[in-house]
Assembly symmetry: C2
Homo-oligomer: 395 residues x 2
Amino acid sequence: MVVSTISGSSPLSYSNGTTIPLSTFSSNSFVNVEKGDPVAFRSYWEKMREECTIEIKGDEWMSYFGDTNNLCWYMVPQMRDAILRLHDMVGNAVTKDKFLVLGTGSSQLYQALLYALSSLEPSDRPINVVAAAPYYSEYKDATDILQSRLFQWTGDAALYDKCEPYMEVVTSPNNPDGTLRVPVVNSGAKGKVIYDLAYYWPQYTPIIYEADHDVMLFTFSKCTGHAGSRIGWAFVTDIEVAKKMIRFVHLNSIGVSKESQIRAAKIIGVICDGYQNLKFIESDRLFFYYSKRLMKERWEKFKGAVEQSKVFTLTKYPTSYCHFNKDLSEQYPAFAWLKCVEGIEDGESYLEKLKIRTRGGKRFGVDTKYVRISMIGTDDEFIKLCTRLSNAKRE
Amino acid sequence: MVVSTISGSSPLSYSNGTTIPLSTFSSNSFVNVEKGDPVAFRSYWEKMREECTIEIKGDEWMSYFGDTNNLCWYMVPQMRDAILRLHDMVGNAVTKDKFLVLGTGSSQLYQALLYALSSLEPSDRPINVVAAAPYYSEYKDATDILQSRLFQWTGDAALYDKCEPYMEVVTSPNNPDGTLRVPVVNSGAKGKVIYDLAYYWPQYTPIIYEADHDVMLFTFSKCTGHAGSRIGWAFVTDIEVAKKMIRFVHLNSIGVSKESQIRAAKIIGVICDGYQNLKFIESDRLFFYYSKRLMKERWEKFKGAVEQSKVFTLTKYPTSYCHFNKDLSEQYPAFAWLKCVEGIEDGESYLEKLKIRTRGGKRFGVDTKYVRISMIGTDDEFIKLCTRLSNAKRE
C-alpha cells in the first residue's frame, strides 16, 4: 500500500530545515543528536517493565470526561493525584492553592498559556513574547505559526525595551544551555512570566528550591522519558487563567488521551512507591538515582571527548545542594551546549562533516559558533557521538 | 487537598455558556443531552472487554517517533494499518493515493487544516471559513480562538457571496441535523472544501458511496465511541497539505499519544476481525450491526416520544441502499434536530423547564426554534429524555 508512506531513503525534510534521517544507526550514517528524544532512560524502564505494565479493557475510559468535579474536566483523578504526589515527593514545586491544568504535552499548554494570558488583557496590539537567548527554538515557531493578533514572537528578552505588555518565557534549567534562569526583562512595562520547568528534575539539576510561581509548566517526557505519551501539566494561581487554558485544550483537542493519563499515573506511582514504601533496597531501582547516575556518567565521558577534541568549549555549571538527594551536586543537563574555539565559525557545519547532526546556535537566537547536542538519546548514539567528537581535529 | 478542584455542587460554567452539571443522574436533576459524549456503545464494549484489552509495559512506546519511514512520523504502523483496514472493509472512503495524517482527535486536525490550506495560499486578508447552517457549533470558536491573520470564521456558507478565497466545511452526515451534505458556496470565488466525515459510519447512515475528496476528516470517537482516546485522522491528496498539517501537529502537541494509537489499533482490529475472520456467529457480536440496531431502537422510541409531545417536529431522512450492510436503510443520526411547533419560540428554554438540557439553534447559526439533542448518551439518560419529552405539554 503506497498510501501515506514516502518511498526512497532520503531524509524527510521539514520547512524549518529539520530533517529526520531514515537510518540513524548504520555505522557510516549520521549520529543524530539534533532532536531531544529522551530515550536514555529506557534501560531503567526495561528493568521495571512488569511493575509498570498497564492494562486497559475494551469498555474503559470511553468518555470525553475524566472528572466532572474538577475544573480540568478531562483529567482523571489518578492523573491529578500522581502529579501532586510526585511534586510533593521531589519538592520541586509548590502545588498548594494552585490550579492544575493537564495538556497534550507541555507544547499544547504553552499555546494555551499564550491564549489565556493574552486574551485576559485585551489590547489592540499583539502582546510581545520574549525569552532570553539562547532560547528553545520551538517557542518562536509555536508562537507565530497561526499569526495570531493576540501575541507575537519578539525574540531575546535581554534586548526587550518596549513600553508594551509582554510575556517572558523563563526556561530553567534552560534548553539549550542548561543554565538556571530568572526573568531578565527590565523595560518597566507590564509583563507576565511563564516558567517552563521541563528539566527541573533531580537527574538534570540539584533541586535547590521549591518553585512557587504563578505559571509553571512541566512535562512527563523529560521527567521519566516517556515522550510518546504526550502528557504535560501546568500549575497556575489564577482561576481565570486556568479556565481559559482549559477552554483552549477543549477547542484544540477536546482534552487529553485517557490512556496516556492512566499510564503516566501508573509510572509516576511506581517511581513514588520506590521512594516512599522503600520497596527497593538497591538504590539502582530508584528512578532519580538511576537516571542521575546515567546522566553523570554520560557527562563525564562527554567532557573527556570534548577536551580531547580541542575544538569546543562547554558551558560551566555550579555545584549546589540538592534538597531531594540531600547532597552537593553538579548539573547534568539534557543538552550539551558547545561553543567552537577561535577560527571555527559554524559549529553545526563542522560537526556535520564529522557525521554528527546537531542543532546550530541560530535556531536558538544566537550565533553559529554554538551547537546543541542531545545527551538523552540511545546508548549507541551517545557512544558514537563521543568517539567521533574525540577524533575531531582542527581543519 | 484543595488544589485544582472546585468545591460546591454548582455546574461548571464556561465562557461560551456551556455548563457541566455535577450530578447528571439523580432523578430530579437535569438530563443532559447537550453534549455529544458517545457512551451509548459502551454496552457493546463491555461484552468485548477482554478481546479488546491492551497491555503496555513500562519501556514500550517511549519515543516521540512512531515510524520514521512515514511522512506522519509520530504515527505507529499498527495505527496506520488499522485505519486503512477499517475503511477498506466499510467502504466509506477511498484511501488509495492519499496521505494519512493522524491527530489528537479530529479537532486538532481541523485546525491543522485551517493552517495548512491558508498558509499554502498566502493572502493579505484572512481566508474566510464557512459552513452551511445549521453548522457544528465548535467550528466558529475553534476557528477564531487565536484571532489568526490566516483565516477567520465567516458563517453560513449558503450566504457567502464574496469574491475572496474561502474554505468550506462540509459535515456529512451533518452535526447537528444529520443531513447528507454537499458544498453549497456558489460565489465564483476560489475555494477549498474540508469534508468532515465524523458520522459517516454504518450505524448512523447507509454507506451510499466511497467518499473520494481531497480533504477528509474522520474521528475514532464517533466511529466506536472511544472519545477518551482523542484519535482522529485525515486523508489528503496533496503532500504539501499533509506536510503542513504534520508541522502543525508537531508544534501543537509533538504528535499523538502512542498509548491511544495502540488501543485504537487494537479496537479497530477486533471490529475488522469480527467481520473478516467470521469469528462470531451471532451478528450481535459485530460492532456495526450492534450499534446500528441500538441507534435504530433509540430513534424509534424517540420518534414516539416526540410525536406524543406534539411540541416538536423532527427532520425527515431518506431511505437509501447501504453498500456495507447490503440493505435499504434509514439514517439514525447521532443527534436529533428538533423544531418547535408554532407558538414556541425558544426550544432550549422550553426543554430546560422539562429538565432537559439541550443546545439551542443559535449556537448552530440558526434560530432558537431549533434544538440539538444527543442520541448517543447513556441508556439512563436516553430513557429519561424520552419519558420527559413524551410528558411535555403545550404551555
